[in-house]
């Protein structure tokens, strides 16, 4: 199997605090991985580094054999790195379909062919059609013209996933996609991820391990900025280092399972 993305001794320091510490992380093409770890262990920071939100203090990132350590986020999107945010990040001053217009693949290309991008109305039949497909995928068709500010948190999460999917990423990074959702919504998003992972390489950060154990083929555990363990979910959860050093108390393990 080919490594899609790898990091070499990736490090991020915030004035004295090392949020990500010499991490060698990698994902194979087609694999679905989960990243778990206590709050503040550096999971989101790792995603921020992979997606280019900020540059690392040290180390390197390789995507499909190419060094992407210093390239800006919009170029990483073009190479195929897509992400969602821990706190849902869609544009609340726009409508649902307007959010999708921006990531519509036809217009990603049209940015290079300006007249279409600058001077045709966004309400063209072909754009609406693309948006309809994307919304249909996440079951939001009837909310296309709703202002995003008025959508429920779960709908916003669905929309965010629809948006990032229309970028056709090779690597999809989902930062706590289930956080803040109701049980019903969690079931919907999990079903959605089940469908996505058959086509794309997915990495999921998640707090509630039980929700993703069945979703992922591999679990990676972070603690205090380091990768402390990785492997098949069953093995990782049985690992004494994970159970004792990282959670400490057995009851907390139970609570998270």
């Amino acid at each position: 199997m080919n490594a899609l993305i790898t990091t070499q001794k990736l490090t991020k320091r915030f004035n004295g605090l090392t949020a990500v510490n010499r991490v060698d992380f990698g994902v194979h093409e087609g694999q679905t991985s989960g990243i778990i770890g206590p709050n503040g262990s550096g999971k989101t920071t790792l995603f921020n580094l992979l997606s280019g939100y900020f540059p690392p203090s040290d180390g390197a990132i390789t995507f499909q054999g190419r060094d992407i350590t210093r390239i800006p986020p919009h170029d990483r999107v073009k190479l195929g790195v897509g992400r969602t945010f821990q706190l849902v990040s869609v544009f609340t001053s726009l409508t649902a379909w307007e959010n999708l217009v921006l990531t519509n693949v036809r217009f990603q290309r049209a940015e290079i062919a300006p007249p279409r991008f600058f001077f045709r109305t966004a309400q063209r039949a072909e754009i609406l059609d693309d948006c309809a497909h994307a919304l249909d995928w996440v079951g939001l068709t009837d909310k296309a013209s709703a202002n995003v500010a008025e959508l429920s948190y779960g709908d916003k999460r669905m929309l965010e996933i629809a948006v990032v999917l229309s970028l056709k990423p090779r690597l999809l990074l989902l930062d706590e996609p289930l956080a803040g959702l109701s049980d019903h919504e969690i079931a919907q998003v999990v079903a959605l991820i089940q469908r996505i992972k058959t086509e794309r390489t997915v990495v999921i950060i998640e707090h509630k391990i039980s929700k993703i154990v069945d979703l992922v083929e591999r679990l990676v555990v972070m603690n205090e900025g380091r990768l402390i363990c990785e492997g098949a979910p069953e093995d990782v959860l049985r690992d004494p280092q994970v159970r004792e050093c990282y959670w400490g108390k057995e009851d907390q393990v139970a609570a998270n399972l």
Binding site: H74, S89, L94, W97, L102, E111, F119, A125, D136
Partner: protein, 341 residues
């Protein structure tokens, strides 16, 4: 794949382009209504101001970048056109394009610097460049611009037949220009690029994760907005034939900001309505106040004071300007009508 059924499910209609002609007709009617009550000579000034406000609304209302130095480009357009008329040739079209070209180049270069800043720094660095421009026009270039004495710069007839110093011709000329600018901005702001610009306003950093180079887009908006401001300035020169450094003074920017806020930022109609209200206040209150003072027998405060009060009302009671109020009323009625049995 492309079944119309998909689109119908969306509850959004594809927008027909001819709608824009309806909008232009509406504006034309509005302007003609004003023309029945206001001297054409004044109304021409109003319309030039509308164009300036529209250009500012693209930068501030749509993209959320508040500049205190927009008059630099208005003034550059005005002065380049004026200097062209005096020193190169009397052709108004050539003089207009000279003004646009120089302002476009100037904003393209300065945009590389100012567009790397945000918030207060963006506002102030623009003001700094504007102050420099103001100074250059008044002192180092005074030999050409005549400094504070002002520059007379008449032009030849437009297309050899239209005399722009005639009030009616000038009014029609600026009116057509306004409609062209409005149509251009209407198309630009409803395109995918327009949506991109609005998303930059909301959260610039996140736009990058949609795959767009925000710097490039911001720079384009800055150049377009500045060049449209220069268009307003050039037109001013052509119809007035006289320039003073006043046109490039950074103080003028405040009026533009007021107009955008009164109408409602990020809405082209808001820019027009706000521009009209501001110009009415500015031109009629000074005349009305002494009269009113006589009637009520008390000396009423100057018009600037009333403008201040109106702005306070807008800031506290109508956050989205006049257009925002009209819109929410409209939605309210619509909802009430729907829920009625």
């Amino acid at each position: 794949m492309n079944t119309p059924a998909d689109i119908r499910g969306l509850s959004i209609r594809p927008a027909p382009r001819w709608k824009i002609f309806g909008q232009l007709a509406l504006i034309a009617v509005g302007i003609l209504l004003l023309a029945t009550n206001i001297k054409l000579h004044w109304l021409t000034d109003f319309i030039i101001f509308f164009i300036l406000v529209l250009s500012f609304d693209l930068l501030y209302g749509y993209m959320g970048h508040l500049s205190f130095g927009h008059m630099l480009y208005y003034g550059a357009g005005a002065y380049v056109t004026g200097l062209f008329l005096v020193n190169v040739g009397k052709n108004p079209i050539a003089a207009l394009f000279a003004g646009l070209a120089v302002a476009a180049i100037l904003s393209a270069v300065l945009g590389l610097i100012v567009m790397r800043t945000h918030g207060a720094s963006f506002a102030l660095i623009n003001m700094a460049f504007n102050e420099i421009g103001f100074f250059i026009i008044r002192s180092p270039l005074a030999k050409f611009t005549r400094g504070d004495d002002g520059l007379s710069c008449s032009s030849a007839k437009l297309f050899g037949i239209i005399d722009l110093s005639d009030d009616v011709s000038a009014f029609l000329f600026v009116g057509v220009m306004l409609l062209l600018v409005f149509a251009f901005l209407q198309v630009l702001t409803t395109s995918p690029f327009g949506i991109l610009v609005r998303s930059i306003k909301e959260n610039e950093k996140r736009v990058a994760f949609f795959g767009y180079d925000t710097f490039r887009s911001k720079w384009i908006v800055f150049v377009v907005s500045s060049t449209l401001a220069a268009l307003a300035g050039s037109i001013f020169t052509l119809v007035r034939g006289f320039l003073s450094p006043q046109v490039i003074s950074p103080f003028g920017n405040v009026e533009v900001i007021f107009a955008v806020l009164i109408g409602g930022a990020g809405n082209l109609y808001g820019a027009l309505i706000g521009g009209a209200i501001f110009m009415l206040i500015k031109n009629f209150l000074p005349v009305m106040i002494p009269e009113l003072s006589k009637v009520v027998g008390v000396k009423l405060p100057q018009w600037e004071m009333w403008l201040g009060i109106i702005l306070l009302i807008i800031v506290f009671a109508m956050r989205k300007g006049v257009v925002g109020v009209i819109r929410s009323q409209w939605h309210y009625r619509l909802r009430a009508a729907r829920s009625a049995p």
